[in-house]
């Protein structure tokens, strides 16, 4: 157990330098951006004098040497202070915090859906290697890889909301106050179907291909031959022996792709008017709210770091060899 504990501690401590580097990158970008907070406030006050702007700069600590400003910046980050949105007149952290749940919901549902369907298709393709099922899955994967996700979302809206009228085309819930908790959940679920399918489809293809390749590799191992020699059914060999071992690379990839998923989610949220981080990015772009954009970049990078940490720890438990390396 102590080896496991060491593994957990070591891996968790590795997060610190990465977070510092992310902070440094954000700090750098903040300084590359034209105009600082003092300029913006001076501009908003309308025709501020040079002395006034300089005074503002002093009060914000913007006249300090860069490395001192960086320490101040880190200190503020430690208290969850990501700066102030001068457009929405609210702290950036608050703006982001209220959007995170919607994005997480969309991401978790999508990745769950993608893993479920992708892994299932991968197993079927590998067990029926070179059959028509295998070919159909491969062709669909090729098409999905080439499709812009946001465009697919638009086309699904055309199909299911406009032509068939079966599903809502956007938003997260119907505007109504007299709904029970259950009705509300069903309502959100209905709104979730199109965006999560749109977001998930790409990953369904990715996981199906990877699971298939991984299973086919496992099939060449000796223990599979042994299992077959013992007289186990092909279904049992495939599902129990091969699939459970082939799952590890898929899980790793799912962890690594959290950042990619977040990027996709931004576009999908814009398409479906889903009230998450993606919509916030879109609004921030329209209003040229750089503080807010940088805050979103920072938080989403942290989310990726934490997701990678979680997957690595999970991996340590699934494959005990890693702990002892």
């Amino acid at each position: 157990m102590s080896a496991t504990l060491w593994f957990v501690i070591r891996r968790t401590l590795q997060v610190i330098p990465v977070v510092l580097a992310i902070a440094a990158l954000n700090f750098l970008l903040l300084h590359l951006a034209p105009g600082d907070a003092a300029d913006i406030i001076a501009a908003q006050s309308g025709g501020a004098s040079a002395e006034f702007t300089a005074e503002l700069r002093r009060s914000f600590g913007l006249d300090l040497p860069l490395y001192q400003q960086f320490f101040v910046y880190i200190g503020r980050l430690l208290t969850f202070d990501l700066g102030f949105s001068n457009v929405q007149h609210r702290p950036v952290f608050d703006l982001i915090a209220e959007r995170v749940p919607a994005t997480l919901l969309l991401m978790v549902v999508s990745i769950g859906f993608a893993l479920l369907i992708g892994v299932a298709l991968g197993i079927i393709s590998a067990m029926r290697h070179r059959s028509w099922v295998d070919s159909v899955v491969s062709v669909i994967a090729l098409l999905v890889y080439a499709t812009p996700q946001f465009w697919l979302g638009l086309m699904l809206i055309v199909l299911f909301s406009i032509m068939f009228g079966t599903l809502p085309s956007g938003g997260m819930m119907t505007i109504a106050t007299d709904m029970s908790v259950w009705e509300r959940a069903v309502d959100i679920g209905r709104h979730l179907i199109l965006p999560s399918i749109t977001l998930a489809l790409f990953y369904v293809a990715v996981y199906a291909r990877l699971m298939r390749a991984s299973m086919l590799e496992i099939y060449t191992f000796d223990f599979v031959t042994t299992a077959r020699a013992k007289g186990l059914s092909e279904t049992r060999v495939g599902l129990v022996h091969a699939a459970s071992n082939a799952l590890l690379p898929v899980i790793t990839l799912a962890g690594v792709q959290v950042g990619h998923l977040l990027g996709g989610s931004i576009l999908i949220e814009t398409v479906f008017g889903w009230p998450g981080l993606g919509r916030l990015v879109f609004d921030a772009l329209l209003q040229r709210d750089l503080n807010l954009l940088l805050g979103i970049l920072f938080i989403s990078s942290i989310v990726v770091v934490l997701a990678n940490l979680a997957v690595d720890l999970l991996y340590g438990f699934l494959d005990p060899r890693i702990v002892h390396q």
């Binding site: 465009w151 931004i266 970049l297």
Partner: protein, 278 residues
């Protein structure tokens, strides 16, 4: 010439890749000479707004009465240009970082790979959005931003290749002959490490085109040139009335990216014959 014929014979065996290559060449041809043959300004109001495809406007008009076909032709230029340039950018950075890390190993490798892992951590699309928002959208900035967010996988691949090659006899021989490190890296190891890199950077072109379309859909495209993603963004506003308007440029992206991926697979079959595809 002989090695090219050899390569071509191998490439030709993959029928899908062969067809894709011809479609891709056709799209490239349209992108290059199209604007001279079909001389309609994609930004000019030509007719009534949002008309469906007709004899006069083969692909209809958009919300401002601009010719969709003209937009499609001009958009091909931007998509292919940014796709190829961004991929070259990423490949160049990835080659340099990966080669230095893999060849020198130890501390250099450690530092460079930590950097690479760090860039892999930053969500690439969000990073690109922020970069372009800060530096303003222009064709050059969009290309550089996509390049900046896409080099890490190339660096990792190149590093692995260099590590596999650096202890080989021919490298030791080159060193014994007194070749400098740079010479060994570029003239000796690089040609041997290149085939898988070519495959990855051809696939990067596809990813870059998809990224560019997403960025311009969000409004982060050069305002002076028309792009496919921008056209989808414009068409989106009238989705209920004219679904074909966003559908058409999307199909153009799909076909182009599909062909690039297929050609990439063909390149893989032809260049890395030892790697059996299953």
């Amino acid at each position: 010439m002989k090695s090219f014929l050899h390569f071509w014979r191998r490439f030709r065996r993959n029928r899908a890749a062969l067809v894709a290559l011809f479609v891709l060449l056709a799209i490239t041809l349209i992108a290059i000479v199209g604007p001279y043959v079909y001389t309609v300004d994609p930004f000019e109001m030509m007719g009534r707004a949002s008309t469906p495809p007709s004899k006069r406007f083969w692909l209809g008009t958009d919300v401002s009465g601009r010719d969709v076909l003209a937009g499609l032709i001009h958009g091909a230029r931007v998509s292919l240009l940014i796709g190829v340039a961004a991929s070259l950018c990423a490949t160049l950075v990835g080659l340099i970082v990966g080669a230095v890390a893999g060849y020198y190993g130890r501390a250099v490798d450690n530092i460079l790979m930590r950097c690479t892992d760090f860039f892999l951590t930053i969500p690439s699309f969000v990073f690109a959005v922020v970069l372009i928002a800060i530096f303003r959208p222009s064709v050059t900035n969009v290309t550089i931003a996509i390049g900046i967010v896409s080099w890490p996988p190339v660096a990792r691949l190149v590093r692995a290749e260099f590590i596999a090659q650096r202890e080989r006899e021919y490298v030791l021989a080159a060193r014994a002959l007194g070749m400098s490190d740079i010479e060994i890296m570029i003239r000796q190891i690089l040609p041997n490490a290149l085939p898988p890199v070519i495959v990855v950077s051809s696939l990067l072109v596809a990813t870059a085109i998809l990224t560019e379309s997403g960025l311009s859909f969000l409004g982060l495209s050069d305002p002076n040139v028309i792009s496919w993603g921008y056209m989808i963004g414009v068409g989106r506003t009238v989705l209920r009335l004219a679904w074909w308007m966003p559908a058409i440029p999307g199909i153009a992206i799909l076909v182009t990216v599909l062909c690039i991926n297929l050609v990439g697979e063909g390149l893989n079959d032809a260049l890395n014959p030892r790697v059996q595809r299953r």
